[in-house]
């Protein structure tokens, strides 16, 4: 896309917007012109982004985003501190909390191992995880069902098992409402592996 004919501040705005996930150059252009015509909305949005960025930080224990450190979940005495659930992103904590099934505590990795993309163990919050294992009996891996998510779970299991900690993984299987016929072989194999007695 050619922004050469735009004044510099406008070109900068468009290229910043185009860096957001799911927004291509065309949409970025539309959004930029809209924002320029709506000064109040622009003002509020800019303020909200700055405030959120400024007041949210990563919890020093679990690495989830929080406005207080440690975060509310880490401070809650009701949560079982012998169980730790490892997730990829902060949004996964939200998904798991919605189910009200898990009573333990969380640890957010902020990604999975993907050496080709430059993400090694040092880029994830693995050092923080290793520092909070006192009293932990079980670590539940709730990572996305991808080759990299699985490799990360195996890698963590290799680090944790020698410490006598039980390492489990959430079952990977068929999506609710999905058709067995359309499932791929890996999904079906995983689903079989995670079968349980009725």
């Amino acid at each position: 896309m050619d922004f050469l004919n735009y004044p510099q501040p406008l070109a900068d705005l468009i290229s910043s917007l185009a860096r957001l996930p799911g927004i291509g150059p065309k949409t970025a252009g539309r959004l930029a012109f809209y924002l320029l015509q709506q000064p109040q909305i622009s003002q509020d949005l800019a303020q909200a982004i700055l405030t959120a960025n400024h007041s949210l930080k990563k919890c020093s224990i679990c690495s989830n985003f929080t406005d207080q450190d440690p975060c509310a979940l880490c401070q809650n005495p009701q949560r079982d501190s012998t169980e730790l659930c490892v997730v990829e992103h902060p949004r996964d904590v939200v998904s798991l909390e919605k189910t009200k099934e898990f009573k333990g505590r969380y640890h957010v990795l902020h990604g999975v191992l993907s050496p080709m993309e430059g993400i090694g163990p040092e880029q994830l919050t693995i050092n923080l995880l290793l520092k909070r294992l006192k009293g932990v009996q079980e670590v539940v891996m709730a990572l996305n069902p991808t080759v990299e998510g699985e490799a990360t779970a195996l890698y963590l299991a290799r680090l944790l098992k020698p410490l006598g900690i039980k390492v489990t993984r959430i079952a990977h299987g068929l999506p609710v409402g999905g058709d067995l016929e359309y499932a791929d072989e890996v999904t079906i194999a995983r689903a079989l592996e995670g079968r349980r007695q009725l």
Partner: protein, 264 residues
């Protein structure tokens, strides 16, 4: 809009936007291709499996103005053993990374395609580092970077002795006179001979080769250095695979020691 088929292997799969992935495919007919697979991170997507790293299948692709789009994928093989084996998964990732950095888009190389696919099938059974080393050496041979192993790259002199001088810069072993102007390392003659065998042996009989731990370590290091020198980049998956399988304790200590250290 133009549509084409690709008999291809997914060698990179990156999250993109809300629910898409950008795939790097290595295809038999067209070499390396980049294409977006839309919506494949949604649980109900039917193309989900096809957008996974290391899936081999038939891809139906729409040609786009800037990026092509995968409109259908029929997986033929997903190498599911990789999902439950960390060392093999990292070796496969090292193979994919090497293939990615050593090739440019749109240049078909059927021989390299066949080699990669064959090695992914063999990786399930064979010793991980044996197969990875054989793959790397054969890839170099196909791309015209065959290392000289056993005689002097410069003057052709037959080399003898327990240890030979190997120079990544020169592309092989060097005699006492010719090594003056090159940097390199001393490698045991046994390792050099073993690398020759890794190139020449029948791939399907590779598992008959035996090597001692010191030889494995030496071959892996010499090769990694050679590859990184040729492609001027660190082989990240290769390095990670090595530190995890050989020095887990040292690895854990380094994790505890450094925080947010640049991964290279």
């Amino acid at each position: 809009m133009a549509v084409y088929h690709a008999d291809a292997l997914v060698i990179r799969s990156r999250e993109y936007g809300e629910s898409d992935r950008v795939l790097t495919l290595f295809s038999r007919e067209m070499g390396k291709i980049q294409a977006v697979a839309k919506g494949v991170r949604k649980p109900k997507s039917r193309q989900r499996a096809g957008a996974q790293l290391f899936t081999y299948g038939d891809f139906l692709i729409h040609k786009g103005k800037s990026l092509d789009t995968v409109s259908q994928c029929s997986p033929k093989e997903s190498f599911s053993y990789l999902w439950s084996d960390l060392d093999r998964s990292l070796a496969a990732s090292a193979m994919a990374e090497l293939l990615d950095i050593s090739t440019i888009s749109g240049q078909p190389n059927a021989e390299l395609f066949t080699l990669t696919l064959t090695c992914l099938f063999l990786l399930e059974q064979y010793e991980t580092s044996l197969l990875l080393s054989a793959y790397a050496l054969r890839l170099m041979v196909i791309l015209g970077y065959r290392p000289h192993l056993g005689d002097c790259v410069e003057c052709g002199e037959r080399l003898q002795g327990e240890r030979l001088f190997f120079s990544s810069e020169a592309g092989g072993t060097l005699c006492g006179r010719c090594r003056e102007s090159y940097s390199g390392r001393m490698v045991r003659a046994g390792s050099i001979a073993f690398m020759r065998q890794l190139i020449q042996a029948d791939l399907s009989k590779l598992d008959r080769l035996r090597w001692a731990a010191w030889m494995r370590e030496e071959v892996l290091e010499t090769l990694r250095h050679y590859l990184e020198h040729k492609f001027e980049r660190p082989l990240k998956s290769w390095r990670l695979g090595n530190t995890i399988s050989d020095g887990l304790e040292r690895h854990i200590r380094s994790l505890n020691g450094k925080e947010g250290k640049e991964f290279e």
